[in-house]
């Protein structure tokens, strides 16, 4: 269990991150909001609850870039004026993470199925150099359709890359349908186990759940894969767990209602 203070700090970080990216999406009239709401706590915990300064984050689900940019504004890597360029002409902050221009974004992502291999390469380099660096990779469940993801999975297990933490944002929705209707993934845990991972399940919106994952990682004898059960578009009441949250921008009073909802959630989860 997290200490009360740490837990509440993480909650505050997540609240700031979500409020910031909602503002970004609103200003840009852009979509992929549901994808960012799905992985906000995962990214928050990696950055503020787990990683060391030299570790890397690979957001393989690059379409949630706004949540990554907002995270990097929260840790001071990006400035507010950087953030305000999001989605505009002449920006580095495109709808998918850029190549080589932003600290803490080592690789451009967005074409699905590349991120786990990137993590494998960085993880292998760290193993060869014995520098203790960890690599956190956040994949969507939709990109488990990509064969290259499974090539990377085989490789990570075979090379015993225990310095990689593979988070799967299991919101059960992908580009044009529910994951189980488009390309059946279940039994996902069994698949990952069969590949040789130590498979952990987490409530993907709960920091205490991630803290348990962190403890398990330290004791794991095999590379770990974390199935994070999440809700796409969480807090966007009209579109929670709906495909629309993947594509649609906010309209009318949605911005205010989502903000109210995440604020309410923050207050309810805060340990008093």
């Amino acid at each position: 269990m997290l200490q009360k203070e740490k837990h509440n700090d993480l909650l505050q970080n997540a609240l700031n991150i979500k409020k910031r990216f909602l503002q970004m999406y609103q200003a840009a009239n852009a979509g992929h909001i549901g994808s960012s709401l799905s992985c906000a706590e995962i990214l928050t915990f990696i950055r503020f609850g787990w990683m060391n300064e030299t570790d890397e984050i690979i957001l393989s689900k690059g379409h949630a870039a706004a949540s990554l940019y907002s995270l990097l504004a929260e840790d001071g890597t990006l400035s507010q004026s950087d953030i305000e360029t999001y989605y505009k002409n002449n920006t580095y902050l495109a709808a998918h993470p850029p190549a080589g221009k932003i600290k803490r974004i080592p690789f451009a992502t967005g074409s699905l199925g590349h991120g786990l291999s990137i993590a494998a390469g960085l993880g292998l380099a760290s193993k060869l150099k014995k520098n203790g660096k960890k690599v956190f990779c956040v994949c969507s469940d939709g990109e488990l359709n990509e064969g290259s993801t499974w090539e990377a999975a085989l490789f990570i297990v075979h090379q015993k890359l225990k310095n990689i933490v593979w988070f799967i944002d299991r919101n059960k929705l992908q580009g044009f349908g529910r994951t189980e209707d488009v390309m059946q993934m279940e039994p996902l845990a069994d698949k990952l186990k069969a590949f040789g991972f130590e498979v952990l399940e987490a409530d993907g919106h709960d920091f205490n759940s991630f803290e348990k994952v962190k403890d398990s990682f330290n004791e794991a004898t095999k590379p770990i894969a974390v199935i994070c059960n999440t809700i796409k578009g969480r807090s966007w009441k009209q579109f929670e767990d709906k495909l629309d949250s993947h594509y649609l921008p906010m309209k009318d009073n949605m911005f205010d209602s989502i903000n109210a909802e995440i604020e309410l959630h923050y207050q309810q989860t805060l340990i008093k």
Binding site: A99, G100, P106, F107, A108, S111, G113, H114, S117, I118, A119, A120, G121, L122, G123, L124, A125, S126, L128, K129, G147, S148, E151, A152, L154, F155, H158, Q159
Partner: protein, 296 residues
């Protein structure tokens, strides 16, 4: 060139500790010594080329220089998007090595040939495609690749041998002085026309994309009034296409052009490398006939 490649990479590893070798499960009876010298920095990534390329990009990002080896189509085409996004877009020093460019794998068939690699890779950002001519070239090409901080692709084939001295490896080389026509070729297939028509003016191009055209080459073309392109690759996207563009802006007089290039599988049948070259007028009597009528 495989033997020379293995020896050259071993020598390079002795000088550059940050070299790693990554193979897509290829190397039987060829890379055993490389494996021994590289130790834990020899990685058999299995038959999983997409992952192999991106893993190599990750290694390069962390300061390693990965040499990534497979049969040409499996390293150049199969993981094309991984090369584009993860290697070239980030200008990382990943060194692709494709064995058997062109019809090099002969009777193994069309899936093992690679007639599109130069064209496909030369247009990617930061990428240099290197096509050695002789066995000696391979050693110098490896040295060039280790020093170059960008992505490269080495297109290997059976090395050409000449009965005259060939200048050291360079993007452009004037191989042999002659008259009647100016021949520009890439890779060992050049020797087929050298052997058949020794009296022509021969030039070898070994690095793509083409940055500049030597003045002496322009003079040669304007003097002979005839250009012959030869490549074991499709003319579209290959040497013919890229040089046509460059020459168009340079030549002050009209010249006649003959393009000798691979056209695929006209009969749908298979044979050894020489057989495929002959079917495409890149060797033997068919080459002699086409060049003969062009010159007459």
């Amino acid at each position: 060139m495989r033997k020379e490649f293995a020896l050259a990479i071993i020598e390079a590893k002795k000088k550059h500790d940050n070299l790693v070798f990554v193979t897509g499960d290829l190397g039987y009876m060829a890379l055993e010594q490389v494996m021994e010298v590289f130790g834990e920095e020899f990685i058999n990534a299995g038959v999983a080329e997409q992952n192999m390329i991106t893993v190599s990009a990750g290694l390069a990002h962390e300061g390693f220089i990965p040499f990534v080896y497979s049969i040409a189509p499996f390293v150049a085409l199969r993981p094309y998007e991984q090369i584009r996004n993860d290697v070239c877009l980030h200008n990382l020093p990943v060194k692709l090595v494709g064995n058997g460019g062109g019809y090099g794998y002969g009777i193994m068939g069309a899936t093992h040939h690679c007639l599109e690699d130069i064209g496909a890779l030369r247009m990617l950002p930061n990428m240099k495609v290197i096509v050695p001519l002789t066995a000696e070239d391979v050693v110098q090409a490896i040295s060039f690749m280790v020093k170059d901080s960008s992505p490269n692709y080495l297109r290997m084939n059976l090395a050409a041998k000449f009965d005259f001295e060939v200048a050291e490896f360079a993007a452009w080389r004037h191989l042999k002085k002659g008259e009647k026509a100016t021949v520009i070729g890439t890779g060992p297939v050049l020797q087929n026309i050298v052997n058949a028509y020794a009296e022509l003016d021969f030039w070898c191009l070994s690095v793509f994309p083409v940055i500049e055209i030597p003045d002496a080459l322009i003079e040669s073309i304007e003097r002979t009034g005839k250009v012959i392109f030869i490549e074991e690759h499709l003319g579209e996207g290959g040497l013919r296409e890229t040089l046509s563009f460059h020459l168009l802006g340079k030549l002050k007089k009209a010249v006649q052009v003959l393009s000798l290039s691979a056209s695929g599988y006209p009969s749908g049948k298979y044979g050894n490398q020489q057989w495929h070259q002959e079917e495409n007028s890149l060797a033997g009597e068919s080459l002699k006939n086409r060049v003969g009528s062009f010159l007459s």
